[in-house]
């Protein structure tokens, strides 16, 4: 028998979580509590070494050293501001001065807004619209980056994408009442969206089953097989 304590512990905890399928019980609760504690501890330590040490300390320490030993002011001193902002974030734990955490929060929100303003506009907006309005048929120069459409089925497919994207967007336009032609277009849009959600459901089932296969593979082919070898 191949006895690896790590595999046995992993199997014990895996079966503990799975025992919830029968009913809630202390074995599941213990496994869950271990998971919660370990997750929080993992992220606490990971972020310390990978963010605070590698980005804050590694930039700040040489700058402080240069300042106090040679009297030089270097760009790394700017990271002092980041350290102060980080401490301000932790002030949220103290209700009386929690408002100070708005400053670092503002930086986080501003950075995210600035970056996503451009990325979403270009990649998810402009390029997607450009690739929706594609030719239905005919040889086309590749200068525009669109391949020639010489197959009528391909052309019909392009038409389907155009209709589906347009009517889907019409559905999401709630500033105008969905009546008449507009309402008809919105209804067609819901059909395309329902097919989209159905496809997503199918893929989600596939994904969850794959994850379960992974765990069952561990239990059967690693743990149980290890008992008999």
């Amino acid at each position: 028998m191949n006895f690896d304590i790590g595999i046995w512990i992993a199997a014990f905890l895996t079966l503990g979580i799975m025992s919830f399928l029968y009913k809630d019980n202390p074995w599941y609760k213990i496994s869950e509590a271990i998971f919660i504690g370990l997750s929080a501890g993992y992220w606490f330590v990971s972020l310390f070494w990978q963010n605070l040490v590698s980005k804050l300390w590694d930039n700040l320490w040489p700058a402080l050293d240069a300042l106090f030993t040679r009297g030089e002011f270097t760009g790394g001193l700017l990271y002092l501001i980041a350290g102060i902002l980080g401490l301000m974030m932790l002030m949220r734990l103290v209700p009386q001065i929690g408002w100070i955490s708005r400053w670092p929060l503002a930086l986080v929100v501003g950075a995210t807004a600035g970056l996503q303003f451009i990325n979403y506009l270009v990649s998810n907006g402009v390029i997607q619209v450009y690739n929706t309005i594609t030719p239905l048929f005919g040889p086309v120069s590749e200068a525009g980056g669109i391949a020639p459409v010489t197959d009528v089925w391909h052309g019909l497919g392009n038409a389907l994408i155009l209709v589906g994207t347009f009517t889907g967007l019409v559905y999401f336009f709630f500033s105008k009442e969905h009546k008449g032609f507009f309402g008809g277009a919105a209804r067609v849009g819901t059909w395309f969206l329902m097919i989209t959600f159905g496809a997503s459901f199918g893929y989600t089932v596939m994904s969850r089953m794959s994850l379960l296969i992974g765990r069952l593979d561990f239990l059967v082919n690693t743990w149980i097989t290890g008992i008999f070898t």
Binding site: Q50, Q128, G145, Y203, S210, L211
Partner: protein, 285 residues
């Protein structure tokens, strides 16, 4: 209570049992199955296959062990194929555990019989730059200079001292990028930054939950190909000629899907027959 009423009120633990058995029984048979390759996988493999020996391939491992059943098979096949065909691998990760998953793929490839007699040297044929915190900001920084994002590799070697990185400054020196993604940061960020700003040629492997969301990028040519979930992994294994776990597990996947579909059909039949569906329609009228 009639049969169909009992079916509607069935204890969910019976459903759990059927799902479990539908996965376990085929798994224990270990039958490797024949698969067709979808256009999404074929598109990616065509580009990968046509890379000449010596091409620099950037592989970003953006997933953790829970997503490994779906993504590890495609990663293993991609790494092994690269070593067999003298593609130079530059590995990195935007998730902390990603580079560790890459080490698993590398070790599996090096231990395989096909690579037994081949010399694969760290630093010359492949390098693991490790993890860098920063999500899409890391990709942005790599656009100007890889060294700004990765001063050292996972073993502590300085960037300048690694032979494979000698003429690699930024994305313009990369021939192909392969991203294995389980969420954020992942394929979306690679498309938004690397492809749309720096014209990187990108292929992606995604978990099945994420894959449908990536189809617009595939349709717009921002991705050259897309591997979706375990099926995508199995197809890539077949395409590269290295059938492994994903191909074996497809039979379990098939039975599981059949059980889910069967239960949904039975549920709808029971709902219709017990008259709950009819009385609701009449109430609506």
């Amino acid at each position: 209570m009639g049969f169909w009423d009992k079916m509607l009120a069935i204890d969910r633990r019976w459903i759990f049992l059927f799902v479990g058995l539908s996965l376990l029984i085929p798994m224990s048979l270990g039958i490797e199955t024949k698969l067709s390759i979808s256009p999404e996988t074929a598109g990616l493999f065509d580009v990968y296959e046509n890379l000449p020996p010596g091409s620099k391939v950037l592989m970003s491992f953006d997933y953790d062990p829970p997503s490994a059943p779906e993504l590890q098979p495609m990663a293993d096949a991609a790494v092994k194929y690269a070593f067999m065909h003298d593609l130079k691998l530059i590995i990195m990760g935007l998730w902390p555990q990603g580079p560790l998953q890459a080490e698993i793929s590398i070790q599996r490839a090096l231990d395989s019989p096909e690579l037994k007699d081949k010399e694969v040297e760290y630093g010359v044929d492949y390098v693991n730059l490790g993890f860098q915190a920063g999500n899409e900001f890391v990709i942005q920084r790599m656009g100007s200079d890889f060294r700004e994002a990765f001063a050292m590799d996972i073993r502590g070697n300085r960037y300048e001292d690694i032979p494979i990185l000698k003429n690699v400054k930024n994305f313009s020196n990369i021939d192909f990028a392969f991203n294995f993604s389980a969420g954020y940061p992942g394929t979306v960020e690679w498309v938004q930054v690397a492809v749309d700003r720096y014209d990187v040629v990108l292929g992606a492997g995604n978990t099945a939950v994420q894959a449908p969301l990536a189809y617009p990028y595939l349709g717009a040519g921002q991705l050259v190909g897309l591997l979706g979930g375990m099926r995508g992994g199995a197809e890539f294994e077949v395409a590269t000629g290295f059938s492994a776990k994903a191909t074996v597990f497809m039979l379990s996947q098939t039975f599981a899907h059949a059980i889910v579909i069967l239960f949904i059909i039975v549920g709808n039949v029971a709902y219709a027959i017990t008259g709950r569906g009819k009385s609701k329609l009449e109430a609506d009228r």
